[in-house]
Symmetry: C2
Subunit: 249 residues, 2 copies
DNA sequence: CGCCCTCTTGACACTCGTCAATATCGGTGG
DNA sequence: CCACCGATATTGACGAGTGTCAAGAGGGCG
């Protein structure tokens, strides 16, 4: 019923002319973000509603507890979503790449913070304007519900990881997951880009930076992965890593 | 107690003495479940679509990985939602009481299992029928989106708990949370009902049964709670517990 | 080239898990 | 009503996995 294929990118978007006055039709995320629920003919309306904004690496553009006045659609770069405890402990609840929709909330305040971890571009929608859009395009609302359901499933998987998996299993899950979701067009070389730091990985997996580092080192020593650079991991033994991620071995 | 399996019987022989032709208008969950998005005048339509089913304590009525053919609305009792690892490790992702909606999924298979932890009643909707309902009642779809967003917020809070809180903070969070969400009409006596076992609490908090028990005992020794029975906790010092839950003290 | 930030590695400590014994609860039947 | 029994919960001793603290290595960029 809600079958969605987020990986599908129409090839035609690459051929679209660059219209300065209509950023949506040429948007890199056009094909697979929630915007794909809107027809080309209505795209002008969408472009008029959205405000494009570039966000520098390290900038926090959503602060937990702040009044939730806007919604965002990431079109370039990567964003880390996180929650903080008063003493500074941090839990990263997810990384949002191009196509991800942020700020869906019933409440009037944001339930999490969002920080760009690399140069990022977002489309901003004010709450009233998104409400109008949802009213005028039921397909958009349906698409948002699909998105929310998918995120709910991912969140439950992450609860399993945080509550019951060992450090080894968590890191393996993270790498395999990155390969599956963030790298849609993975070729024969199972290479995973890691735009985030070890510290951010640790805060995502409920571990410390040292444990993440040690686990990477062990996987390297066991010839399961190599790390050409700190921001890149090559998976040498994907079936084995998948097994560890699932709790076997 | 009589156990009824309605799965393979025509609806007409359902044992509903008082409101056989319209179970919805008298439903205990009518006011606060997703059904509240539907007007009284359309309730007959809803009743005709839903199939009421009673589920015995301990019965698993959704199995992770099974074909997701139905959606459920809990109207009585409590359900535990959980995921398993191959070796038996279990993570409870939530407890669903009256009013909760289960099975929202984009995929064709369930992403979690569901087991009744006390005598439970649910309304069952087949996938195609729910789809019809969503089409005919846009307010219902909007309501489902709100519900999904709320669950997403709760899931992120749980990730913070599982990834970064200590055992003490987890148990305190659990008790305070139960008081806030499951006991809407809490009076001067801050009494929390615990329909689940210690083991299920442990699997929800990412701990062991022993750690949960020890933490309860410590709270008791510190005069923060009392336990009239294993299924009931009285909170004596709510501000202090809230502080611990938030990561202070 | 050199500074600074991030990452890696090691030694040690501590929370929480494991294993085991005992106590308590709740239901059943005499 | 009480005795019995299995299931569930509590408590203790101990150990393992992961966190903490600290030092050193590597990498990027002016």
């Amino acid at each position: 019923m809600f079958k969605v294929d987020n990986m599908h990118r129409p090839r035609s978007i690459l051929l679209l002319p660059q219209h300065e006055h209509d950023p949506c039709s040429s948007c890199a995320a056009r094909g697979y973000s929630v915007c794909s629920a809107i027809d080309d003919k209505d795209l002008g309306r969408l472009a008029a509603t959205a405000i494009v904004r570039d966000i520098a690496k390290g900038e926090t553009f959503i602060e937990e507890g702040d009044s939730a006045s806007d919604f965002f659609n990431v079109t370039r770069g990567t964003v880390k979503l996180y929650k903080l405890l008063p003493d500074g402990r941090q839990q990263v609840t997810g990384f949002a790449g191009a196509g991800h929709f942020l700020g869906l909330a019933v409440s009037n305040t944001y339930a999490f913070s969002a920080e760009a971890i690399e140069p990022t571009r977002v489309c901003r929608f004010s709450r009233p304007k998104l409400r109008e859009l949802l009213h005028d395009f039921p397909a958009l609302e349906e698409r948002l519900l699909q998105t929310a359901c998918n995120e709910l499933v991912a969140a439950q998987e992450q609860m399993l990881l945080l509550g019951r998996k060992t450090a080894r299993e968590r890191v393996a899950s993270f790498l395999v997951n990155r390969l599956e979701t963030a790298m849609p067009c993975a070729g024969p070389t199972d290479s995973v880009a890691l735009p985030m730091t070890r510290s951010e990985i640790a805060d995502y997996l409920g571990l410390t930076i040292e444990t993440v580092s040690r686990t990477f080192s062990r996987f390297k020593a066991e010839k399961r992965i190599t790390t050409p650079s700190n921001a890149e991991v090559v998976i040498l033994d994907r079936p084995w890593l998948s097994g560890v991620a699932a709790g076997l071995q």
